[in-house]
């Protein structure tokens, strides 16, 4: 049987995502892709992949996966979660896997990921990637129209997600000492394209007031609660295009920030757009998070984007070798509590 990860439990919303599906928005097909491309890149680089390789995007509650391959190397980055590796033997041994480190799992091992905290999404990359065909140039999943990923849907219990490699490569494990994931104090926006549909009072509220991410948020849009932004010329426009991070304001005056699965066109005025350098941090926000906005000009946004690109390029150079023996050796675990970034947290099962 081909190498795969089998889903014992699927988690709440686990999908395959890569950098997104470009070139089809004129046919109404959303871009999709990772909500947090910085964490996606980090997970992939640690696993030994190109940064935009499709990985599992996990929201709210993680899955439990059984390794059905000779071995597999994985790495996790993003929101915090308890990540455990259960190894069957005479007694089940449970080890805890730290974030931002690659790890090698053997056939029969079970990877168990708990509830997420401190962020909306967590990425699990597998060395070599997952063996699913790209649809329209991307493996990203767009659930609403059943495009990409595994049969165009979220993973479910019993799924076998095929791996491109049948075993992990013979190499040491990698780690990152840190990954800056904290949100900026204020999300930078560029006003428009329809800021002229709002009065000065609404613009002032947008840039001075504080908003809160509501639970009615998903991969398509983040609904904010806060002061209502009053339209000056009505709230229906002749539909035009929608950019990533745009703040659409429907009739109730409460902005919706449009994210990865955003519709390609829309008929509500868009008061401002979050700059691309701040989109990964935006995608990480969880319901209840406070959001403030600060307007900047486009040249400043372009400079910030170059800065983010430089930081992401530097990730590959910041990878460190995990000192010591790479393979998990039960004997070594007995003499040292810390091997390869794994902590023998719970001891013998």
């Amino acid at each position: 049987m081909s190498a795969a990860l089998r889903f014992l439990t699927p988690g709440l919303l686990t999908t395959l995502q890569d950098q997104g599906r470009f070139g089809y928005q004129h046919l109404g097909i959303p871009v999709s892709g990772a909500l947090d491309p910085v964490s996606l890149s980090a997970a992939n680089l640690l696993a030994g992949n190109a940064p935009a390789t499709a990985a599992l995007e996990i929201a709210y509650q993680g899955p439990t996966l059984a390794v059905e391959a000779d071995s597999v190397r994985i790495a996790c980055a993003g929101a915090s979660a308890a990540i455990e590796i259960l190894t069957a033997g005479e007694a089940v041994r449970t080890r805890r896997l730290a974030m931002l480190r690659s790890a090698r799992l053997e056939r029969g091992d079970v990877l168990r990921i708990g509830a997420l905290s401190g962020g909306s999404v967590l990425y699990v990359a597998a060395e070599g990637g997952f063996d699913v065909p790209p649809v329209l140039g991307s493996r990203s999943t767009f659930v609403r129209a059943g495009i990409g990923g595994v049969d165009g849907r979220a993973l479910k219990a019993g799924d076998r997600l095929p791996l491109c490699r049948s075993s992990a490569s013979e190499r040491g494990e990698l780690m990152l000492d840190e990954l800056e994931l904290a949100p900026p104090p204020r999300f930078r926006i560029i006003l428009g394209p329809q800021d002229d549909y709002f009065g000065a009072e609404a613009i002032a509220l947008l840039t001075q007031a504080s908003f809160r991410v509501t639970a009615a948020s998903d991969r398509m849009g983040m609904r904010l609660d806060g002061p209502r932004l009053k339209h000056s010329k009505g709230y229906n426009i002749v539909s035009d295009g929608i950019a990533p991070g745009t703040l659409q304001v429907p009739g109730n005056g409460l902005p919706i920030v449009l994210l990865a699965d955003r519709q390609t066109t829309g008929g509500y005025p868009k008061i401002a757009t979050v700059i691309s350098a701040d989109l990964p941090a935006l995608g990480r926000l969880t319901p209840g998070a406070e959001v403030r906005f600060s307007p900047i000009d486009i040249e400043a946004a372009e400079a910030l984007r170059r800065q983010l690109a430089a930081e992401m390029a530097a990730l590959a150079r910041r990878m460190l070798s995990v000192p010591g023996e790479v393979r998990i050796d039960p004997a070594a675990l007995e003499t040292s509590n810390l091997v390869s970034g794994m902590i023998d947290a719970l001891g013998e099962g």
């Binding site: 295009g241 868009k270 946004a301």
Partner: protein, 248 residues
Amino acid sequence: LTAADHIPHRPRYLAAGDTALVVEFGDAVDPELSALVLSLARRIEQAAIVGVVETVPTFRSLMVHYDPLQIANAELKRRIEPLLANLETSASKGRHWRLPVCYDASVGLDLADVAQRTGLSVAQVVERHSGTPFQVYMVGFLPGFAYLGGLPGELELPRRANPRLKVEAGSIAIAMAMTVIYSIESPGGWNILGRTPVKLWDLNRPQAALIGAGDQITFVPVSLREYERLALQARAGELSVTPGLAPA
């Protein structure tokens, strides 16, 4: 004020963040605006500007998605500027589709309501909606979801007060001065006149989305029985329609 007065060929450039530029020709649903937008879209495609990722034509503007690491907003505008000269102001001859549509009350759920609200008979509604080509202004909202202009004034109505939670794929519906085709099942508030058995969206085809902006569509009425026969063919993947050249 004539129609031409509010159709400036000199568009406005509006920033939609640092990865998308809106080139806006106006703010109406209008055949001339649509022609300008589609004309610019073709030119930008031909110009193959490095850093332009894709363009999305809409009724009245073109959204240019770009990679700010490859081209800055200011440079993109400089590159678009020479492409604005002598844009086409009437629709160029695109593909022409003849789509079978069943205008039966069982699938045209709002047919009777539309007839009542417009003061026409059901037969008159069908007659005014079929037989003449409509222009596809844009595809958006959902994969393959097409917006068509050119609806006769007698059929202009607002959207339904209570949108439906579920509209079947293939539904042909009207509101304002437009017709839309629901490519996949979705919620929707447009007035449904009928349904086509042709799959507007099918990932099993090389070209998943059948229709593109700039195409023309003529709806050809078919009986419920014929619709059901064609729908069976479509489900088996055996119904293919091919476009002809748009009529003069």
